[in-house]
Symmetry: C4
Subunit: 233 residues, 4 copies
């Protein structure tokens, strides 16, 4: 059985096999189309800012209780079309498509599982993020404090706060990374985003606008930290 739905710009196709995921339901086509469009738009903006070099980075949005839309592995994130976005279930398995989701899909589904309010997850890979991750890998966290722009992170309404951004060791073994993120959350420490060493940042939001605001804010704050380190020595 195959379903298809049309969209004014292009068409996202997915065929649904009852046998493969008997419990799964279809995500709402209108919600899927809207999310795919939001993901492609975010990619264009973030790509233009140089945050997604060389087909790196991946983006997703929660579609419903059991599905998310996510970028297909290996695509140029600055020029995404709706054909570059696929449906997964919240265990990270492709739904109704032979396409391969991002290698880091489990990091997205983990966020949806652990943060019920999160509906959009952005992972980018800027030079600032990579350099900061390597510089602070040994200490394991980057402390951000004294910045007015901390107010751009949801739940903060004063600059008189601080956010500890963890830097996890890089690995190609996603369950290992998932376990590290879980350990941080289970330790009771607040988590608004995290870096992976030699890699980029993960952050999220209630909607795509909030997730984008978080990416912009963390990119800015990490850039300030690097500048201050250069200038204060």
């Amino acid at each position: 059985m195959a379903r298809r739905f049309a969209h004014s710009e292009c068409t996202i196709r997915y065929s649904y096999s009852m046998s493969a995921n008997p419990a799964a339901k279809f995500p709402d086509p209108a919600r899927l189309a809207a999310c795919a469009r939001a993901i492609a738009d975010a990619g264009r903006k973030l790509g233009a800012q140089g945050l997604t070099p060389a087909t790196s980075s991946n983006f997703s949005m929660r579609l419903d209780d059991s599905h998310a839309a996510i970028t297909i592995s290996g695509r140029d994130k600055g020029t995404l079309t709706l054909d570059d976005i696929m449906v997964i279930d919240l265990q990270g398995r492709a739904v109704g498509t032979p396409a391969k989701p991002s290698a880091e899909t489990l990091l997205h589904t983990q966020i949806y599982a652990r943060f019920p309010d999160a509906n959009a997850v952005l992972h980018t890979h800027s030079r600032t993020q990579t350099v900061a991750s390597r510089l602070f890998a040994d200490s394991g966290t980057i402390r951000l404090e004294g910045y007015e722009l901390l107010k751009a992170i949801a739940g903060h309404n004063t600059h008189q706060t601080r956010i500890d951004l963890p830097v996890f060791p890089n690995t190609q073994d996603m369950p290992e990374l998932v376990a590290r993120v879980n350990a941080w959350i289970d330790g009771g420490k607040p988590l608004f985003g995290y870096l992976i060493d030699g890699h980029g940042i993960y952050t999220w939001g209630r909607d795509m606008a909030e997730a984008e605001r978080h990416i912009e804010a963390f990119e800015f704050l990490l850039g300030c930290e690097l500048d201050l380190r250069r200038l204060r020595t």
Copy 2:
């Protein structure tokens, strides 16, 4: 009683309640439309230069003796439409709209009160501005001298001058910041703009073109100061 005026691109609506502000008069609709357009255009330019990350920054223009147009709190300043701009009186209160003006509205109205020639106020939040503010917070001022571009600041016609840009401590308490700015002015020291620690810059001009020129010049001069500090150590 509600008034409405049309504009070719979009419509700014505000309803006017006699009871709320009995003494207030309407700002001229044509002037309001022109100012809102100038504010949106400035936002687009400043946003494209990376000066307004993560919904930071705010902009205003004086409309008449008792009103200003100002950006609504929380909007993306690089993609403003006329619907993102509202009317306030010069005490900083919303006029004819339930929208919430920028949290820093009192810093705008203070400029209009203290500088009768100022008709446009720009507050941006670049990485260079934030980093410079933190580096010079302890000394309380940044001295700019020896630059040809000092001539871009109104009233200067030679590079053989200097401008002291104050850096005020950050606070979420606007009256406290207003008092610090007043103290500087009342001390008889010239003021062309100021930084807030960990935050951005405020500057202004006779019209939007002059205010934009001041932002560009201060951004450039602060960038040069940071570069020279890196290169001379």
Copy 3:
């Protein structure tokens, strides 16, 4: 007596007074229109690269044996229209217009007088140029050597060369600057461009394309020099 010539995009007007400059002849309208367009196009490109902040910078082209087209003082160089460009004679006087040419007009006419092959002069004001000028002001020159891109400067066909770029002290007295440039040339030293301390660069070319290539090359080479200085200490 007033002459006027039309152009597809806009109109450059100039009135010609027999009494003011009895010996002057009209520049060819087609040549003037082409040069004005080339100047506006160059401004758009250089402005987009951030080389012309806050109405700084000025550009000109030689029109004939006795005239040049030059940018009018105080305009935004990134958004020039043909109305922002005027005619001067090669003594730097406005021809047929009450507009005021750039304050640095004499530096342009000097180039046309000393370098018969030069037909376009560009002065820009980037952060890199300003910072380099201040760092090297004491030594009076910046030596550029070992770069493949030296081949972009007219007359160089190998990287095994070097170019000494002089840095002259800044002054608002143009005849003083003209005298310094003349002294360098009269000393028999090659001159492909020069910096003014705390200010920007002057360079030129046989045509606008060559002048633009020189600006791009010097901006690049000065940027490399600053980076290497930061990295080698």
Copy 4:
């Protein structure tokens, strides 16, 4: 005898002289048009990122067993049209045109001879590439390791790898450079790209998309290396 083929955007003309290259066959016009378009598109993207200053850089694609398309010497690589691209044989000689190919043509044909899978070669000339080449010229290689983005280089599927990027001395004598590149390959060391001192980078790919991904990845990784060097001292 002259052949000509049309293309929707512009026309690439080349006349074929039987006497000059009696053994040569024509490249397929459709393949030539597609490659020329891909080269022009790549130039526009790389130029917009500032990687091709002052008419530097050159690009090519393999057309068939005995031909390649390459940029004509001295053109602005950010605004290439199909008229800026010519045909060469794999010995680097112009085919059917009096135009002069890039001075570094032999470095392109060498890649096609030594790497049968390579179908696109990109040489760019960014500030980061030039500065890195000068800093690491003495050691002769730049070691890249610990970066997730190493996975963007073909054949790498983990960050737990390292790539040694050689830095060869600059020379205007192409056979000398060709010999150095051959010596590296003949020494059995893997080669994914190389820098030339004071100059830029060469890299390649199975198709233009892969070559572009390699340029973006190396530009990013070299930038990180420079940043870390600045920050760790």
